[in-house]
Symmetry: C2
Subunit: 258 residues, 2 copies
């Protein structure tokens, strides 16, 4: 049964989408069955893979308005494409309406979790790309997750800003049957910046086991890949960024087996 | 009377806060009277300057709940500090409540604009740091602005994502007495990435005059400055990043006089 990995951080531009897509590809390249879901109304992961939400009839949005027990919704929203190493559920701007739409709905935080039960048997991993926003979409991802990967941009503000996410997790832990598990991932790490190195040390001191050993360094190739609608493996599997995400995939696999 | 510069982009992590603080400092160093306002509930600009919103009694939040004609509110919220080259209004997490609080209030988009009238006479420039979010806070900043500076991270997704901001501007232009003026600023530019160079060319083709000549390159020193709670001028006024923001300040000054 699939392990659900939410990729979350309410700060923008820290590498959530890049991590969801690249780690998803890395796990697939290790032979795993992977599904990646775009839960961001801005649909960056979708656009990255050349799925243009405004042209799609069925997206992640439909999950939240599906009739109970409608198993057909997954058939409609999962995209498979020649050459793509993972299955993909695109996002849509209408996801932003859910904050209001679901306002009075009971158990609105459990919708994704319950819906995922229908497809968990088919995959080894489901990665969920989250919006940079604390709200009903993020809560759904956190509740559904077995692990929350928190990309952090090792600068002072990033560390300060992460409290918001921890407050949300702490709140959820009061009501969930099992606590939300998380692990921080240093991204866009700039070895030359002593601030980066200091803050990474601080993170490891404070969070210990809850920081991945793998660090994703700044790598120009990520932007290049993004501009070409590819993940970095398709651009150059030997570039440092690709190797680091593969190392992260192995780290996640090992943890699975301990 | 002050020229109001909103710094806006609904994408996260593109350099809005860095631009608001650094450009504010650059204009001040050219001898201008400058006020910088933090309109982001996450309060990054405030924390950057070591103003911790949770410890403050008066912040930008108070502007939106002030009694009409309460000129005392500005006295309470403007911070001046030894060594700071501009005046500063801190943000607060409670700003995020305004979306709901102001839901039924008439002319909720005009609050900042009307309030700023009380202090515009004291400054040459007011810079407003906006949250990465389309909502009532952003609309207030756009409506109040004489110019919207849009930091763009010259990658494919950034260009695609900017349509959301343009949609908002187009909508506002239908109801505002004068249209919202904007100018894009390429930030975190990576000369080595051909994707960056291509997208900058694309931007200049499509937007022409509406792109600043100045380009802000990737510079490790920005993160360093951020970690030390300083703007880059205090760290090293000769570093490329500092020189580029000074160049941007001059570009804005020139345009003022044409
Ligand atoms: N390790 C890296 N080195 C250099 N650039 C990177 C790296 N990781 C991501 N990027 C680039 O940084 C930008 C932001 O990354 P990304 O979109 O993954 O962040 P995000 O957290 O998903 O943003 P948002 O909050 O807007 O969803 C993109 O242009 C991406 O290509
Ligand atoms: N030109 C630059 N070169 C390198 N790093 C930069 C540059 N400009 C900003 N940064 C760094 O990038 C990170 C994000 O910048 P910043 O906080 O200004 O973006 P933002 O758009 O305000 O983000 P948010 O949407 O979360 O408010 C910060 O760590 C900042 O120090
Ligand atoms: Mg993203
Ligand atoms: Mg900011």
């Amino acid at each position: 049964e699939a392990r659900i990995l939410a990729v979350a951080n309410q700060k923008g531009g820290v590498g959530k989408t890049t991590t969801a897509l690249t780690l998803g590809a890395a796990l697939a390249r290790l032979g795993r069955q992977v599904l990646v879901m775009d839960l961001d109304p801005h649909g960056n992961a979708s656009v990255h893979l050349a799925f243009y939400p405004e042209n799609l009839d069925y997206t992640a949005y439909d999950l939240f308005h599906a009739e109970e027990g409608d198993s057909g919704v997954w058939e409609r929203i999962v995209k498979r494409r020649e050459g793509m190493c993972f299955d993909f559920v695109p996002g849509h701007i209408r996801l932003s309406e859910l904050e209001v739409d679901l306002k009075d709905r009971r158990n609105k935080g459990l919708i994704l979790s319950e819906s995922l039960a229908q497809v968990r048997g088919r995959y080894d991993y489901v990665l969920v790309d989250c919006p940079p926003h604390v709200g009903v979409l993020l809560v759904n991802a956190l509740v559904a997750s077995d692990l929350v990967i928190i990309p952090i941009q090792t600068d002072f503000l990033a560390l300060y800003g992460i409290r918001l996410l921890f407050d949300t997790i702490r709140l959820l832990n009061k009501v969930l049957p099992r606590p939300v598990r998380f692990k921080a991932l240093a991204t866009m790490f700039d070895k030359r910046a002593s601030a980066c190195r200091r803050i990474l040390r601080l993170m490891r001191d404070k969070l210990g086991e809850r920081v991945f050993d793998t660090v994703i360094n700044l790598d120009t190739r990520f932007r290049e890949a993004c501009a070409q609608g590819r993940v970095i493996f398709e651009l150059d599997p030997e570039t440092r960024g690709a190797l680091e995400y593969t190392q992260l995939a192995r780290e996640i696999e090992e943890h699975e087996n301990t």
